[in-house]
């Protein structure tokens, strides 16, 4: 007697299988860290600032943020659930010890660190030779190695750790820091402003096309160390830059908080393309141990400027993230292309905000959500057309793909229009990877995993084509790995 499985349960079991895949980047290296005692008060902030030998104005800026944060409450409106975070139990500063005397070349870098990058598939040795990509590698809180800086500086481009920019370019930092994401913007942004560790600073001068794609790899390495990167990118008039952000984190038992702030400033006629492929550790099959990712990303567009956010999210236990555009200048353009994949017990609440202020401003939102296992994903998008935004246009497309029948996808589109000339279009679809599609692929000789990854990649095509080539390939692979075991 031969029993073939029935349709519904068949897929569910396949899905279960696909999900059972250990996190290959999950390991822990034991670089000695110089970690601050847990807890947060004004002394801790003074310590961080002193450790970085910051000027007085920077310390004051942090303290102002801290005081605001103390008055604020954690937001609870997102469609995610997690145990309360004890902010006093976290440590707010950590730097690899080998940083005390900064390495002048890769040869001076802690070999264990290099090994860690190798395990992650980021061969630093090769990165130097890797054409077109400059890497500002951030481990924990301090930038370790910066390559290609000379070539960039030749073009007048500044690409350095923000801690260094505070010393070398204080006028630029003072002028723009906190102008897009104010210290009091939200709970996590205020926390970040108070304790931010490090991050990237980019300045592209007028009329300059950045000669290479800028890339930063982030990685969390210290147990219980909140990560508070701060990135500031300024594209001066008529300039162009493409910035790539990629993340991966080691396996761990306690949930880790990550609260970054990214600010983009696109001055008149400038263009910023910001791409993220994110792979924080999502937690094990029971949902234990993943990263909590609460990020504030926002850009401001002046006249004729354009900001594109493209992101592929596969990691984190909890993601709370809304890259947004303030379309202040007339004719400016904001774009948001996103793929968010959740599996097992992951929860994601992502989306974007497009704030139309200038005349004839345009925005496009293409959000693709993929849910597998018992995961929940939510798209939350706000399109606001202010009274003065004559002729503003928005197009929003929100598609959800479900794999199996125990996951969920939710969409919360908010539209606020105060100008009758605005045109707003919204389309939303929900589909499933159907038994019939899987069967067709398998009947044509593809195994179930290959079939699912192909179907998922097809679903994401519109977003992937916005990514720089090498990132698109990486993103495809990432989805494949993230879905491994969810079928079969």
């Amino acid at each position: 007697m031969i029993a073939l499985q029935a349709g519904g349960p068949h897929v569910t079991e396949q899905v279960e299988g696909l999900i059972r895949k250990e996190y290959s980047a999950g390991f822990h290296t034991s670089i000695e860290s110089d970690t601050l005692r847990p807890g947060l008060d004004e002394d801790v902030i003074r310590f961080i600032s002193a450790k970085k030998e910051e000027p007085e104005w920077m310390l004051e800026w942090r303290l102002k943020a801290f005081r605001a944060w103390q008055e604020m409450e954690e937001p609870t409106w997102a469609h995610v659930h997690y145990p309360a975070i004890d902010f006093q139990a976290l440590s707010y500063y950590s730097a690899p010890k080998s940083m005390a005397d900064k390495p002048k070349s890769l040869a001076e870098v802690d070999p264990e660190l290099l090994e860690m990058y190798a395990k992650l598939g980021i061969p630093l040795h090769e990165q130097e030779a890797l054409a077109g990509v400059a890497v500002d590698a951030v481990i924990d809180s301090v930038s370790v190695v910066t390559t290609y800086r000379a070539k960039l500086e030749e073009a007048g481009v500044i690409f350095c750790p923000i801690s260094e920019a505070v010393h070398r370019f204080p006028e630029l930092v003072k002028k723009y820091l906190g102008t897009v994401v104010p210290q009091k913007d939200n709970f996590y942004a205020a926390l970040n402003s108070a304790v931010f560790s490090d991050g990237s600073f980019v300045y592209i001068p007028k009329g300059t096309r950045c000669p290479m794609e800028l890339s930063t790899y982030f990685r969390i390495n210290e147990m219980n160390t909140g990560q508070f990167e701060r990135t500031l990118i300024i594209a001066d008039e008529g300039s162009y830059v493409s910035y790539l952000e990629g993340c991966t984190a080691p396996m761990r038992d306690e949930n880790q908080l990550h609260a970054a702030v990214v600010e983009l400033v696109a001055l008149d006629d400038a263009q910023i393309k910001y791409s993220t492929v994110q792979n924080w550790y999502p937690g094990d099959r029971e949902g234990k141990g993943g990263i909590y990712n609460f990020v504030t990303k926002r850009g401001i567009c002046h006249r004729n400027a354009r900001i594109s956010w493209t992101q592929v999210e596969t990691g984190s236990a909890i993601t709370w993230k809304y890259p947004s555009c303030i379309l202040k200048g007339d004719n400016s353009v904001g774009e948001f292309y996103s793929v968010a994949l959740t599996n097992n017990f992951q929860q994601a609440d992502t989306g974007t905000k497009m704030i139309h202020i200038g005349k004839n401003t345009r925005s496009t939102i293409v959000a693709k959500g993929i849910s597998a296992g018992r995961s929940q994903s939510a798209y939350r998008g706000l399109v606001r057309i202010n009274a003065g935004a004559e002729g503003a246009r928005n197009y929003t497309q929100c598609d959800s793909l479900l794999i199996g029948d125990r996951c969920g996808a939710h969409t919360f589109p908010y539209i606020e229009s105060r100008n009758s000339t605005a045109q707003i279009e919204h389309e939303a679809t929900t589909s499933k990877v159907s038994d019939d599609q899987l069967f067709l692929c398998q009947q044509r000789g593809l195994d179930a995993e290959k079939a699912v990854s192909m179907i998922v990649n097809g679903f994401c095509r519109e977003v992937f084509k916005e990514l720089p080539m090498e990132f698109a390939v990486e993103a495809g692979k990432l989805l494949e790995v993230s879905l491994e075991g969810s079928v079969g």
């Binding site: 029935a6 067709l440 044509r444 593809l446 290959k450 990649n457 097809g458």
Partner: protein, 249 residues
């Protein structure tokens, strides 16, 4: 090639195939006809291992192997092909990448190297021409927005590329215009040789005028109630199925 012995299968708790036996030799074309709901598609689905179709007893040998013990994709790679009665759409996955992946899987199984993208593209274009599909269809999503007839021709294109040894065509002729019917028929005829076999499920004699079968079977109530040569199809066309009821009983 294929030997089905006393096959019993059920779907959703209902017994559909009852003691079905059928032997197909290399190079033969068998037509299967029969009333709606008699189990023709079920037979194709059971042979290809579609989830939800439960074999309760019987056995199937495919080139001497226990077919029912193989995974769905293994059956395909071994050379079993089903042209679907209702082909599904896979949005965003281009026909080209889908076809390449399936041809690669089959070639790998046969120990052949992958075709280069260039060679594959050339082959795919030539093949699409043979089924009168514009090469533009290769760049579209699998069956995405295809008309009924285009979907059927796409199935035949897949069959030609995969070069299976046993092809099951489930009502590939339904919904085809006269020209398309000829395209499908000449596609099948071009692939006929002394090793490749076909099971052609159809309701109409017309297709069998173009693809002349070696055997014709009537499936009713989940079993083969009558078998004959190509003239049986003419008889069915003229008389319908009711006269067979006596024989069924």
């Amino acid at each position: 090639m294929l030997e089905i012995r006393n096959l019993n299968a059920r779907v959703e708790g209902a017994d559909i195939l009852r003691n079905l036996s059928l032997t197909i030799k290399p190079g033969e074309v068998h037509a299967i006809m029969g009333p709606n709901g008699s189990g023709k598609s079920t037979l194709g689905n059971v042979l290809t291992g579609r989830p939800g179709y439960e074999v309760t007893s019987g056995e199937v040998l495919f080139n001497g192997q226990d077919l029912l013990a193989l995974e769905i994709e293994e059956r395909s790679r071994e050379g079993l092909f089903l042209a679907f009665q209702y082909p599904v759409e896979i949005p965003g996955v281009t026909n080209m990448e889908f076809l390449k992946a399936s041809v690669d899987a089959r070639r790998k199984h046969l120990g052949l190297p992958d075709l280069s993208s260039f060679d594959f593209m050339k082959l795919a274009r030539e093949t699409s021409k043979k089924v009168s599909l514009d090469a533009a269809f290769l760049k579209r999503g699998v069956n995405e927005g295809f008309s009924g007839g285009e979907k059927k021709r796409n199935e035949i294109m897949q069959m030609m590329l995969l070069e299976p040894s046993l092809c099951i065509l489930d009502e590939t002729d339904s919904g085809l215009d006269i020209d398309a019917l000829q395209v499908v028929a000449s596609g099948v005829n071009a692939m006929r040789d002394d090793k490749r076999s076909f099971i052609i499920v159809t309701h109409y004699q017309r297709l069998l005028d173009y693809i002349v079968p070696d055997h014709v079977h009537v499936l009713a109530g989940g079993r083969i109630v009558k078998s004959g040569g190509k003239e049986l199809a003419h008889e069915l066309e003229a008389k319908g199925y009711s006269w067979l009821e006596d024989e069924v009983a």
